[in-house]
Symmetry: C2
Subunit: 310 residues, 2 copies
């Protein structure tokens, strides 16, 4: 493939940025890849494993002369980083981010972006429960969605170029209004994560059931919940703090719905439970048909991990 | 391996029973395998794909002369089946079941078991989101737990023989008190399933977020929730109706805990969220160390399904 950006600056060198580095390198999409991470250890690892051609102790240095700047720090750190790099951005450069929340990132970053720089917010819907510079891999984005939430007045050429990069890294691109993005993500990701954290916390507190038993006999769903609940705490703290309104909305609906089912259990209303569980099956079929998951039993897990049992 | 039971009668021919048939056949553990299913279609499939040597239209016929009878029907159907087969059980036979709840099954089945028959309740903690006679496979139980909850006065030889069968099918065996079993399962499986069903139901109702978007952009956790919520509705209805007390207990704790996190989000208490999310990571590590799941990112999912993202 051909080089799409001459110099890409990755600000933050965690799972997403390191996967981008691997993907861009594997496909020759960037002339040069430089990076910045707050931690000296992370910077040393990034050089050692060849993620970046150069690393810098400050974000301001890293963005000098870059035609693409990727903000890949927790959402809560975006404002400070944007303020730091704003005066150092090259004319005509594109700035994007990979935050899981879009309205809050736009509010934090946009004020610091000069008029001659294109800010195009983005969200790669890909990840694993691991984090850090060693966690990335070149195929992370293969066939995953990468949502862009540009302003209406976005420069069409800059948008098209960023779209080319994202697609060349293997992802599928769609554009979306930032507020709608945040609501959709509250439903499909943020609230489910909070629920998983909560259930794992309940198990942790339950004195009657020793931890070793919870762990030893963990079937799905608890096992799947623990994987979700193992995700990066800083990232998720910031997601909930910055997508507060949408998450609280969905949580309210969730609590109502849960009480309805809880009441059906208490009243012994088997028909209501059966009907509910039958409806939810259809959504799963839709997801498999949409290519968002494998139809292999239990995700195609191997050997030690076949259970989805009761 | 050597034959452990001369004639095994599988009552109910769904995922668990069909997997047992495959596993016993693959390893030569049963002299003969016969079966019963309520549905004529299921019986025809069982013969067609070679699950059983003979199938019978009634459970009473199927158990005649069997030295092992496996009750593999939904928990709510156990009482009627036990009443039907009780008078037809062979002296010295062992009866076991594969229900996900143990106290309710014991209450339903034990009164119908003659004094010269050994009833040893069991629960293979293995499964997939699929059901029916075609869903079974011989390796379903490999390295999974199979819990037995025998009464204190159980016949030691009968227990040892059933244990041998279960281990020969690839499972790990443990024994447990029935009430404790039901509480542990409420934590690690039943309540997580109800929560997953609820979250999928919320998404389904949400008019602002069209179904196609929920499906198209489903990241983990929602995607994982939908898989859990695709499980057999009849089985799960019966689980919640028959393990009511333990599930309502855990649901109450869950709601309390969720409100604490919801309040932290509303109040913007990032430290509380961060501390909570950090604690839950440790439980995940324990599960991987206990060999209950793969440490591969995102379960080692392939291609179309790498996301655990926000």
């Amino acid at each position: 493939m051909t080089v799409i950006y001459q110099k890409v600056a990755l600000i933050g060198l965690g799972l997403i940025a390191s996967s981008m580095a691997h993907a861009m390198r594997a496909k020759g999409l960037a002339g040069q890849i430089v990076g910045h991470a707050k931690s000296a250890e992370t910077r040393a690892v990034a050089l050692e494993i060849g993620l970046c051609d150069h690393v810098y102790a400050t974000a301001a240095e890293a963005v000098e002369g870059a035609d693409l700047v990727v903000l890949a720090v927790p959402v809560g750190a975006m404002a400070a980083i944007a303020a730091e790099i704003g005066p150092h951005l090259a004319a005509g450069a594109t700035v994007t981010d990979v935050g899981s929340v879009k309205q809050a990132v736009i509010a934090a970053v946009q004020p610091h972006i000069p008029a001659n720089v294109h800010f195009i917010p983005g969200h790669p819907m890909a990840g694993t429960e691991y984090s850090g510079p060693r966690s990335g891999f070149a195929t992370l984005f293969d066939n995953r969605w990468w949502l862009l939430t540009p302003a209406a007045e976005v420069d069409a050429t800059a948008l098209s170029r960023l779209r080319d990069l994202v697609q060349a890294m293997g992802a599928k691109v769609d554009t979306m209004d930032p507020a709608h993005h945040d609501l959709v993500l509250a439903v499909v990701s943020h609230t489910p994560h909070l629920i998983a954290y909560t259930m794992v916390g309940v198990a942790d507190h339950l004195a009657q059931v020793s931890n070793s038993e919870v762990i030893q006999y963990s079937a799905t769903g608890f096992r799947d919940f623990t994987r979700i609940a193992a995700s990066d705490p800083t990232m998720w703290r910031d997601v909930f703090l910055t997508n507060k309104d949408a998450v609280l909305d969905i949580l309210g609906r969730f609590a109502e719905e849960l009480f309805v089912l809880q009441r059906a259990i208490r009243m012994g209303d088997g028909d209501q439970l059966f009907d509910y569980f039958t409806r939810t099956r259809a959504i799963r079929r839709g997801i498999i048909e949409a290519g968002q998951d494998t139809s292999a039993p239990d995700f195609g897990r191997v050997s030690a991990s076949k259970s989805t049992d009761a």
